[in-house]
């Protein structure tokens, strides 16, 4: 029942917002309340986690096509649920200080997407997964289309089509594999995982599935929608996109590729590793000389995602656990960073880094917050990112030394661009810009998030123990491969 509640609470709240269009304060309050409720539920699930995958609801939908309304979660799913649950109150909270538009509508869109995201992470049926996968896109689409920045129409459409392309390829794959199951067909993940598809099929099926997730994350060279979309999108939209929706890609890789087409995935491992690591380096290099703060963060996000994707394909516990763990860390990080971008934009009126500088004198509190976030971004030990990156490097090393070198170089490049950005925003001589320091509300927003990064950085096991079991299970199934 908790599972259904996770979907229904935001959905009903969103519907209510849309139907009654309450005034700003009420709309925000309702949205925040509902996200806090879902957070409570998510935490409850986390608290009661016993290490055994849970199936909450299983109801026939269209038996002939293997469609089944089946909700549940494994440890990996729970991690994602937790991520969504934790981040959405903050994303909604962003609207208090950095309003996107009519609060009723904007929050309604956000809540719709939250409901769909919960669905994605709880779906135990490939078809259901796809449905939520696409549904999560629609509210974001409207969010971008109506409250985006420059060139919003063209960029939104490009983003939308690009992601849909992947989605449809995924649908195609789902339809294909469902038909391969014995009669009566079933699209349950358990049934699909039991399939032993011939190699020749797995070769191409891998790509039709991977396309969806590669675009969603995104990794090179499927990323061309990403930087512009992030730049154009309102802060809240960017947050949802980068912090949560990108993670659907990671989740999907584990859920689909590793269980349904493991041999195909194994076969393409090197190629995927090379493109994702190359993409990670490529984005990290680009980020250095970006003048647009938001675009810089966008490229940094892409760089991180590339590393995470590569880590997943290392086929060992460290890489996969690290990659999954990092989804959480990265999600929190992205919300922080984009919030800071938004703060700066509100104050300076532009995202152009060359227009900033020397602000530390005016906003010392902000500088401290930003430094703490930067610490996480450059994966200082005892922050969350470090644990994930360490695990990922370990996984990469176990697979191939040179891949690990390429991965580790990222921490150098990351330090280069993040510190440079920090310097360009805050350091240097005072330029006499009249800006206010971070106020209490903004502290209220950022401090908990930063606290999370430290708590989980010092005690990573509270997240890691979620994924440990499922990852071991995955690895066991790999070892039985020829």
């Amino acid at each position: 029942m908790e599972l259904l509640a996770l979907i229904l609470i935001p959905f009903l709240a969103a519907t209510a917002l849309l139907a009654f269009r309450p005034a700003a304060a009420a709309a925000r309050g309702l949205a925040l309340t509902s996200t806090l409720l879902t957070l409570a539920f998510a935490l409850w699930l986390w608290y009661t986690w016993t290490g055994v995958a849970v199936t909450g609801i299983s109801h026939d939908w269209v038996p002939a096509w293997g469609m089944r309304f089946k909700l549940g979660y494994s440890g990996i799913g729970l991690l994602m649920i937790l991520l969504t649950g934790v981040l959405f109150p903050f994303i909604i909270g962003t609207g208090y200080k950095q309003p996107t538009g009519d609060p009723a509508l904007v929050n309604s869109m956000l809540l719709f997407s939250q409901a769909a995201l919960f669905g994605v992470f709880m779906a135990q049926n490939a078809f259901l997964f796809y449905i939520f996968f696409e549904l999560s896109l629609i509210p974001i689409f409207f969010l971008l289309l109506f409250w985006g920045g420059e060139h919003k129409r063209a960029i939104t459409i490009r983003f939308f089509l690009y992601t849909l392309l992947g989605g449809l390829a995924l649908l195609f794959s789902i339809a294909y594999v469902t038909l391969q199951t014995p009669l009566p067909h079933s699209a349950d993940f358990s049934a699909l995982a039991a399939l032993e598809l011939p190699m020749s099929t797995q070769y191409w099926l891998f790509w039709t599935m991977f396309l969806a997730f590669a675009i969603k994350m995104p990794i090179f060279p499927f990323h061309s929608w990403q930087p512009e979309t992030y730049v154009m999108a309102p802060t809240q939209g960017t947050m949802v996109l980068s912090a949560v929706m990108g993670k659907m890609g990671i989740y999907g890789v584990v859920l689909f590729l590793f269980t349904i087409v493991p041999e195909g995935a194994l076969h393409w491992t090197n190629l995927v590793l090379v493109i994702s690591l190359f993409g990670a380096l490529y984005a990290a290099v680009i980020a250095f000389r970006q003048d647009d703060f938001k675009r810089l963060v966008a490229y940094s996000s892409m760089s991180h995602m590339g590393l995470m994707c590569a880590a997943l394909f290392t086929w060992n516990a460290y890489g996969i656990s690290g990659g999954l763990y990092q989804t959480f860390a990265h999600g929190v990080l992205m919300v922080c960073l984009f919030y800071i971008v938004g703060m700066m934009y509100q104050r300076v009126g532009t995202n152009d880094l060359s227009a900033m500088g020397g602000l530390k004198t005016r906003m010392p509190r902000m500088a401290l917050l930003f430094m703490l976030v930067v610490g996480n971004a450059i994966s200082m030990p005892l922050t969350q990112s470090f644990v994930g990156e360490w695990l990922m490097f370990n996984g990469l090393w176990q697979l191939d030394h040179w891949m690990a070198v390429a991965g580790v170089v990222l921490i150098v490049l990351g330090a280069i661009y993040m510190l440079y950005a920090y310097q360009r925003v805050l350091l240097g001589p005072d330029r006499q810009l009249e800006v206010a320091d971070a106020d209490d509300e903004e502290h209220f927003f950022l401090v908990p998030l930063i606290a999370i990064t430290f708590v989980v950085g010092v005690f990573p096991n509270i997240v890691l123990h979620l994924v440990d079991g499922p990852v071991q299970q995955l690895l066991n199934s790999f070892t039985s491969l020829p």
Binding site: L18, V62, L135, F160, L165, A175
Partner: protein, 457 residues
């Protein structure tokens, strides 16, 4: 059969009422009759009728399609009184012609003899030729009518040539005999292949498959919106029912499959791509109709014999497509009136601000046409996916997926207009009945999307 007679008599009755200028009685009478027909069909559900010397057969497929067509016609009739408020003359004729056309649709869904196929198509088409030109003082309407008439007649000529050749080969018009002959003949029998192809041409013309689609945008645009609605929905359903009945007996020989694949590819491509640059809503819907024909043809392509679910898929697809299309055309009429007769996509602007419920209904219908999950359109497309993949048409399906993507693009672009604030103040006048029709369509589309089992048989 009784429903067939009922509708025919009903049409005559409506014509008769028209003589007495009882305009306000027409629609209620028609609706009553249609409801009666639906009931009659439904009571015959479990009884397989094999009727009258093998001319018609009312099996589940035909009854399902007939009920679907009658239901959509009913929705259109509900919209009729509002649409015809300003028209004083020939209203009865138009209702009657639609009913006549519907009779043709019934025949097409149930024929078992090529002669009935021919008659069915003609009964379906001839009233449409007239209806397309029903706005007598509009040149566009007349032009649409004439274009439809000319092109349609030529397509009929091809169909007849095909029927004649089939008759020459098999010695009978009966589908069973023809089927047996095709099964016995080698795949290299050129004349047979030509014959099949000619019949397919005639049918493909009706469903608007490329390259026989040229009439579609022009006629959809020129015809009165109500007629366009009828054409896009009931006629399409009927045409596909007829198409299916024919394809079903052929066993899809290689030569036919080859042609069908090309038809599918061309239809998907042209339908979806050409729609990208359309700004006139009716033309857009026309191309959308062509595009959907592509998917439906793909479903047909997989029909290789008994036991397949192609028939059910077609019914589901066409019916839900019709629901969405009908609802959107009603919405379009409302918007068009609010914008002094303009037909471009921008007329929907400001609808969300003025009538949020209607805008959301419109959104649901657009999403359904686009094939976004939780709408019926998605389930429909997914069924086609499953069929095509099951039959091994992977590459064609891959192409279909790409085209579906384009489809989503142009629907979404129009759907976006619903939420854009209007540039200048517009008043949308919605009668309760129209609101009901739109809501019914949208709810139907969502309901069927959430619960596709509603239409399984």
């Amino acid at each position: 059969m009784s429903a067939l007679i009922l509708i025919s008599v009903l049409a005559v009755l409506v014509l008769y009422l028209g003589l007495y200028n009882k305009k306000s009685w027409l629609a209620p009478l028609g609706i009553l009759g249609l409801a009666g027909a639906i009931v009659l069909f439904a009571t015959g559900w479990h009884i397989p009728h094999h009727l009258l010397a093998g001319m018609l057969e009312f099996d589940r497929f035909s009854i399902g399609f007939s009920i679907g067509m009658a239901a959509i016609t009913l929705l259109i009739f509900l919209f009729g009184p509002d649409y015809y408020t300003r028209m004083q003359q020939h209203v009865a004729e138009q209702y009657a012609l639609m009913l006549f056309s519907l009779v043709g649709g019934f025949l097409l869904s149930s024929y078992t003899n090529m002669l009935m196929l021919f008659l069915g198509i003609e009964i379906l088409s001839i009233p449409l030729y007239v209806l397309a030109g029903a706005k007598k003082n509009s040149l566009r309407s007349t032009e649409a009518s004439l274009k439809y008439f000319l092109l349609g007649s030529f397509a009929t000529a091809f169909l007849l040539m095909g029927i004649a050749l089939l008759y020459g080969l098999a010695g009978s018009f009966d589908l069973g005999v023809i089927s047996a002959h095709i099964a016995g003949a080698g795949s290299s029998d050129l004349v047979l292949n030509f014959a099949l192809f000619f019949v397919v041409t005639g049918l493909a013309f009706k469903v608007g498959a490329v390259p026989f689609h040229f009439w579609v945008p022009d006629v959809y645009q020129g015809a009165p919106t109500l007629v366009t609605t009828f054409m896009a929905t009931v006629v399409k359903m009927a045409a596909f029912a007829g198409f299916y009945r024919f394809i079903d007996i052929t066993g899809m020989p290689d030569a036919l499959a080859r042609i069908m694949v090309l038809l599918v590819l061309a239809t998907l491509l042209v339908g979806n791509v050409a729609a990208l640059r359309q700004t006139n809503f009716k033309r857009l819907m026309a191309y959308s109709s062509v595009a959907h024909s592509g998917f439906l043809l793909l479903a047909l392509l997989t029909d290789t014999g008994p036991g397949s679910t192609v028939g059910a898929t077609l019914l589901y697809y066409t019916f839900t497509y019709s629901l969405a299309t009908a609802g959107l055309f009603v919405l379009f009429t409302i918007a068009k009136r609010a914008n002094n007769g303009a037909e471009h996509n921008g007329i929907f602007q400001g609808l969300f601000a003025a009538k949020p419920w209607l805008a959301l209904c419109g959104l649901a219908m657009f999403l359904s046409l686009a094939g976004i999950p939780l709408t019926a359109g998605f389930i429909a497309k997914y069924q086609v996916f499953l069929l095509a993949i099951g039959a091994g048409w992977l590459k064609v399906m891959g192409f279909g997926v790409l085209m579906a993507l384009l489809g989503i693009y142009y629907y979404i672009m129009v759907a976006r207009e619903l939420f854009v604030p209007a540039e200048h103040p517009t008043t949308f006048v919605v009668t309760p009945l129209n609101g009901l029709v739109i809501s019914a369509c949208a709810i139907g589309v969502l309901l069927l999307g959430l619960w596709p089992a509603l239409m399984a048989w």
